[in-house]
Amino acid sequence: MTETLVRDSLENGLVHLEAKDINVWFSSKHVIENISLQFPENSVTALIGPSGCGKSTFIRTLNRMHELIPGAQLSGEVLFNGNNIYGPAVDPISVRLGIGMVFQKPNPFPTMTIRENVLSGLKLSGRRARDEDSIVESCLTRSSLWTEVRDRLDSSAGALSGGQQQRLCIARSLALNPEVLLMDEPCSALDPSSTRRIEATIRELSESMTIVIVTHNMQQAQRVSDQTAFFLAEENQPGFVVEFGPTDSLFSAPNDPRTEDYVNGRFG
């Protein structure tokens, strides 16, 4: 199924990934209401908004990580290259191979070396790579880590700094050659200089892949993203998208007063 998804990608024009009318419930609690967003090919989309408005939940619906939480329910569609990833015959594992994910806290596998971490995705998904060395090198290069770790590929990943670990996690995702990379607040646990390096990495990666990033940092959203969606949730109400558009116009001339308040730091 992934194979067809992948092959169809070029024929369907610019929209690479699309969420249509997404609603999410945890058991009976409605947490996301009617969200529809489009993610064009090779674009960077930032999802911003105050805590608890469903950004992380939403991003997890995009590669079917959401359903691993017991009691999670959903309606709507996510179209990847025009095909619904929640279609009846779709294997969730193939979805996750095509749409990679990086998490808030750097989480390299502590029992593996740096090299093994990069290749871990291949092993975990049961694939064999022809030329492991070149995969390691290219992935680490793309995540701008190669020069720092080239001499100690066989040492434990635990010895790396937090920023390096996060870039290693990015490299790990890249090894599977995903078309889309989802990043859930990738810099929130890192210091400013590490954050800068990750942002640079994101810009480079966006030349060849579609990126969706959740962030609390509005400057970061402005620095890295092409388009931005502003999420909001009223007390005990499901989260929804207030405004969605090109990053420049959303920050400089928001249509909605709530967006204006938020981007100017009046709440949140």
Binding site: M65, L68, P70, I93, M101, T111, K123, L124, S125, S173
Partner: protein, 349 residues
């Protein structure tokens, strides 16, 4: 029951030199006074000394509380004295268990005890004939088979709780905990009824091992569950996001991360059952000679050997029992110490 919780919370710590000196005087002086009282009066024995000290210390503690540098309630000082008394009683009792085992065990030692079986030993025979080799070998065989049965199953049960997290999870946890309360004699009765009476197995090492595995399983499962829960969920999520199946997550991420802890769980299980006697009496039956075949004939084990020697009751038999106790206790202590240190290092680090 091996969780180590930091006890950083001691809000009563006081730092005041003269106050501390006064405290020291009372706490060190009272035992000395007690010794003096015991020496001068006719009070006899360690227990007499203990109660004299307790009585005196309650009084001196109360005096200190009332007239000392810092005043506090008498109840407060009595509480402190009673805490010390509890520790003293427990440590004394525990040492009176451990020390005689080693003193009597060592004094019974003669090399044949380790390298011969008891086939030619009459009751009351000299310590220079026969030994515990058959029991030692029997224990190793029985406990090994029990481990082969219950370590994998115990780890599977723990993995069910930590990985599957289905509707049955609370019930599985409950049943595993309930199983850890099964009296050992009941495990023996069960194997006797289900295997020996029905003719599936004779009195044998294998029957004994099955009985022990019932006792070992909950220990392994509960410790393994504790260690598996220490593996961060982040790692599981990350692996799933990389397109892994759950089977590979467990095999390549969860088990390697918990590795040392799982070995600890296995060791604790072995230590738990190595000294069990009652179930073996009904299943392995005991023997006086070496038997290497766990499936056929009765087999001895260290606890069984100790039990039968105790019943024989003559001095040399009892000396042999003490020696076997020492071997057993050394074995259990070493296993337990290794496991416990391994576990605590893991939790701290």
């Amino acid at each position: 029951m091996t969780t180590l919780i930091d006890s950083s919370n001691r809000p009563w710590k006081v730092r005041d030199k003269s106050y501390q000196a006064q405290q020291l005087l009372v706490h060190a002086g009272t035992p000395l006074a007690a010794v003096a009282v015991v020496a001068l009066t006719g009070i006899k024995g360690m227990s007499g000394l203990f109660f004299t000290w307790l009585f005196l210390h309650l009084i001196t503690g109360a005096l200190l509380a009332r007239f000392g540098k810092r005043r506090y309630s008498i109840a407060n000082s009595s509480l402190q004295v009673l805490m010390v008394a509890c520790i003293t009683v427990f440590v004394t009792a525990a040492l009176s268990v451990l020390i005689p085992v080693f003193v009597k065990g060592i004094s019974a030692f003669s090399s044949n005890l380790l390298f011969q079986d008891a086939a030619l030993v009459e009751p009351g025979a000299e310590l220079t004939t026969g030994g515990i080799l058959h029991a030692l070998i029997g224990s190793i065989i029985i406990v090994s088979i029990a481990s082969v049965i219950s370590i994998p199953v115990g780890i599977l049960a723990a993995l069910y709780v930590t990985e599957v997290r289905g509707k049955l999870t609370p019930y599985v946890r409950f049943f595993v905990q309930a199983m850890s309360g099964v009296p050992s004699i009941v495990a023996g009765l069960f194997v006797y009824a289900a295997f020996i009476v029905t003719g599936i197995l004779p009195y044998s090492g294998l029957s004994g091992a099955i009985a022990l595995s019932i006792l070992m399983l909950p220990t392994v499962a509960r410790t393994a569950e504790e260690v598996l829960l220490l593996v961060p969920d982040d790692l599981r999520t990350a692996a799933l996001a990389l397109g892994s199946t759950q089977r590979r997550v467990v095999r390549m991420i969860v088990l390697p991360s918990a590795g040392a802890g799982l070995v600890t769980a296995a060791i604790l299980g072995v230590a738990r059952v190595a000294g069990e006697t009652a179930p073996l009496l009904l299943t392995a039956f005991g023997s006086v000679s070496i038997n290497l075949n766990p499936a056929a004939e009765p087999m001895s084990a260290l606890p069984l050997f100790i039990f039968t020697q105790m019943l024989l009751g003559e001095d040399n038999d009892v000396a042999r029992a003490w020696f076997a106790c020492m071997v057993l206790l050394t074995f259990v202590t070493v296993l337990f110490g290794v496991a416990r240190l391994g576990l605590s290092r893991r939790k701290m680090g």
